[in-house]
């Protein structure tokens, strides 16, 4: 007899090693079937293990999932992704320059938020994690507003109360981002249940990283969504890393994250998250399925976290330096760009000009944003704002504490 053994998930590669992505189960573009939106879950379990891809290695859109978007729409998608990237780049640098306290980039994952944002209706409610800033770009929130939040300045939508990137936008139908992982996942299901109770045709969509799928709230979301067949899209962005731990530690070593769907009797799709067209197509499919009363879908986006986890992180300690360059699914911006060039609807010159335009837009926005103050420079928000919104009406004990703070500051 052999004693029992504790299995430790194996990382594909560590610093100093050659990145090895052979663990990834890939499929050629166009190979995966596209079922009708009303297909029963038991008849499409396989989709949770395959990989929906549309743009092939020759930059052509192929197969049943091709969403057949017009070139102008593709150009808008490219523009949104490039603006998201330009914004991320500069905000990272501004944090490094000490202008803000914290930042998180979405480098390499831009197609997820941008294509999905475009595939949904503006009235659909979004419950993102901290890495879907592209949703704000798609829905048209001015960058200045986002920057003011990052700066905790006098125009900060969070009134100085939140860490940078924890945006919210009620009028844009984007829920307040939480620092506590996965909490939004079952909340989105509740929102979708309410839409069904009220009889509207709005749906909800929510996002977590694959690491966050370990939390119990993931299970709560899956269970409530499947029990009530709620009109919701549950997105797991598998960017392979959760800070220093690789997706194997969230259970990705044995089964895809999409495969959790069939386990709950829910549709599960696995998609190439760096393929703008594929992400758009699966989101449209899941949205129509939900909107027409055929229930929820879990979508796993296979992508890569191109940057550090956050400005507090140093990935050189736990992964090879050149891993992103070797990621087999490429870069979402490059892939859409090459596809457009292949269609004869884009060129290197137009691309360079657009990159410049995006960067200039970001720079101009930043110039304006800092005129409303920074975390450390005037004008500053009134610190007494901290006592508001704890409750709808301020109770006596907070009024008393506010007065104490006033006295404390007068003395200084």
């Amino acid at each position: 007899m052999r004693p029992s053994r504790l299995h430790i998930p194996k990382h594909h590669s560590r610093p100093g090693e050659t990145p090895d992505f052979s663990y990834l189960e890939l499929a050629p573009a166009g190979a995966t079937q596209r079922p009708d939106i009303n297909t029963r879950v038991r008849d499409m379990n396989g989709l949770a293990f395959e990989l929906v891809r549309v743009i092939d290695d020759g930059h052509t859109a192929v197969g049943p999932w091709n969403p057949h978007l017009d070139p102008p729409e593709l150009q808008v998608g490219l523009r949104h992704m490039m603006l998201t990237r330009a914004f991320d780049d500069r905000m990272q640098r501004m944090q490094r320059a000490g202008k803000t306290s914290f930042y998180m980039r979405s480098l390499g994952e831009e197609a997820v938020a941008v294509a999905q944002g475009m595939a949904l209706r503006p009235t659909d409610m979004l419950f993102p994690s901290y890495r879907q800033q592209g949703l704000y770009v798609v829905r048209g929130r001015p960058l200045v507003d986002l920057m003011c939040q990052l700066l905790s300045n006098t125009r900060d939508m969070c009134k100085g109360r939140q860490l940078p990137i924890m945006y919210h936008w009620r009028d844009g139908n984007i829920f307040s981002i939480s620092g506590n992982l996965t909490t939004q996942f079952p909340q989105a299901v509740g929102w979708a249940m309410a839409a069904a109770i009220k009889g509207t045709d709005d749906i909800a969509a929510t996002w977590i990283g694959e690491g966050s799928s370990a939390e119990a709230d993931f299970h709560h979301a899956m269970l409530f969504a499947s029990v009530y067949e709620a009109p919701v899209i549950l997105n797991v962005v598998n960017n392979q890393w959760a800070i220093s731990t690789f997706q194997g530690f969230a259970g990705g070593e044995h089964r895809s994250f999409a495969a959790r769907g069939p386990g709950f009797g829910m549709a599960g799709l696995r998609v190439d998250g760096n393929d703008f067209l594929a992400v758009y197509a699966v989101t449209r499919w899941a949205a129509e399925r939900a909107r027409n009363g055929f229930g929820p879908t879990i979508i796993e986006h296979v992508t890569y976290r191109g940057a550090a986890h956050s400005t507090s992180d140093d990935p050189a300690r736990y992964r090879p330096k050149d891993d992103y360059e070797r990621w087999p699914l490429g870069d979402p911006v490059e892939r859409l760009k090459n596809h457009l060039i292949d269609l004869g609807e884009w060129s290197e010159e137009r691309h360079a000009a657009l990159a410049k335009e995006m960067d200039e837009h970001v720079v101009a926005s930043w110039k304006e944003a800092v005129t409303y103050g920074t975390l450390t420079e005037a004008p500053r928000l009134d610190a007494h704002l901290m006592f508001e919104d704890v409750f709808k009406e301020m109770p006596e004990h907070l009024k008393k504490q506010e007065a104490e703070l006033r006295a404390e500051r007068a003395e200084k």
Binding site: L6, I8, H11, R14, S101, F102, S152, D156, C158, G160, R161, Q162, L163, P164, M166, S178, G179, N180, L181, G211, S212, A214, E215, A216, D217, A242, I243, S244, T245, F249, A250, G251, S312, D313, R317, Y318, L375, R380, L381, A383, L385, M386, F387, V390, H397, L398, Q401, E404, L405, A407, E408, R409, E411, K412
Partner: protein, 339 residues
């Protein structure tokens, strides 16, 4: 003796215990290969292997539940919750299970789990990287609750916690990981090497759970505090020129009432200070206990200094933090009062 900051002292405690007791295991998010987001477990997986120092899925409830199971099966788990702000998914496992297992099984089952978690603000972390929830756990029967204020105590208390057969929730004030902090963010950072409690024995020693530390003897007033606030209160008393007796509670549960009572009976005046929110906070317990035991010795009402009863706001961190000004205001009021 060696110079250690709090991170190194905590690391040394776990290193020693992993070496002394094959039942000790460490588990938590990013604690293994990476060595923890604050590097407290740095190098331990390399030294003791992947079966002794485990990276876990991001599931605090799972981490604590698994630690309980391991504890029941004879191991001595040390679980890290990456930030105290993220301990709540484990709340049910801690409160309903870990705290009560010995009681409900009439002593037949127990789980000697230590839960380490960084707490407190002052690092621009906003409301989800700044909380001090010690009072929430001190309120639960069956949990020991510890918060050191310096490297020497951190190491000795952590070894005691790991050796303890009862569950211990061990809070680490992250603002003082690298050096003492007197509450003034504009002063240059001071390393632990400048502080006597940065001298830490390299080997095994313990600091007992259940004993306060009289940081400074004095006759004018007693300041009862813990964690980062020990250093803030020392500076505030110094700036007022008061001969304050400063007591570092160190362990919220069990509480060393005797040391507190002896001091307040001597000084007749008392201020209680912590960084956590005030309403329903642990300061209320301290204040009530001291009042019950020392009422006839008191020259003035006991005052509490605390964080405001709001979430920890990112931009107003220093208006929120109970700094020297807030401590000094309470000290002045207590000193001026005449019974």
């Amino acid at each position: 003796m060696a110079q250690m900051n709090m991170i190194q002292a905590l690391n040394s405690a776990m290193d020693i215990m992993l070496g002394r007791d094959p039942g000790v295991v460490i588990l938590g998010e990013d604690v293994g290969f990476f060595g923890g987001v604050f590097r407290v477990t740095d190098g331990l997986q390399r030294k003791y292997g992947e079966h002794r120092v485990l990276d876990t899925p991001i599931a605090e409830g799972g981490i604590v539940a698994a630690a309980i199971g391991m504890g029941v099966n004879g191991l001595r788990p040390v679980a890290e919750i990456q930030f105290a702000d993220y301990i709540y998914p484990a709340y049910d496992q801690i409160v309903s299970e870990l705290a009560r297992l010995r009681y409900r099984s009439a002593g037949e089952f127990f789980a000697p789990v230590t839960i380490r978690t960084p707490c407190g603000g002052g690092i621009r972390g906003g409301q989800t990287h700044s909380q001090s929830p010690e009072g929430v756990f001190a309120h639960v029967s069956g949990l020991k609750v510890v918060m050191p204020s310096n490297p020497y105590d951190a190491k000795g208390l952590l070894i005691s916690a790991i050796e303890d057969d009862d569950p211990v929730v061990f809070f680490e004030p992250k603002r003082i990981y690298n050096g003492p902090f007197d509450g003034d963010p504009n002063k240059p950072a001071v390393p632990w090497s400048t502080h006597p409690k940065g001298d830490v024995p390299e080997g095994y020693y313990t600091v007992p759970i259940g004993k306060c530390d009289v940081v400074r003897e004095g006759g004018d007033v007693t300041i009862v505090t813990y964690g980062t606030m020990v250093h803030v209160c020392e500076a505030a008393a110094r700036s007022l020129g008061l001969d304050a007796e400063i007591i570092d509670v160190r362990t919220m549960v069990p509480l060393d009432v005797e040391t507190l009572v002896n001091s307040v009976q001597k000084t007749g005046r008392c201020v209680v200070a912590h960084e956590a929110t005030r309403f329903g906070g642990y300061g209320g317990e301290l204040s009530a206990t001291i009042q019950e035991e020392c009422f006839w010795h008191l020259e003035a009402p006991i005052l509490r200094v605390a964080g405001w009863d709001t979430p920890y706001p990112h931009a107003f961190e220093w208006e929120y933090f109970p700094g020297q000004a807030r401590v000094a205001a309470a000290l002045r009021t207590v000193m001026e009062a005449a019974a």
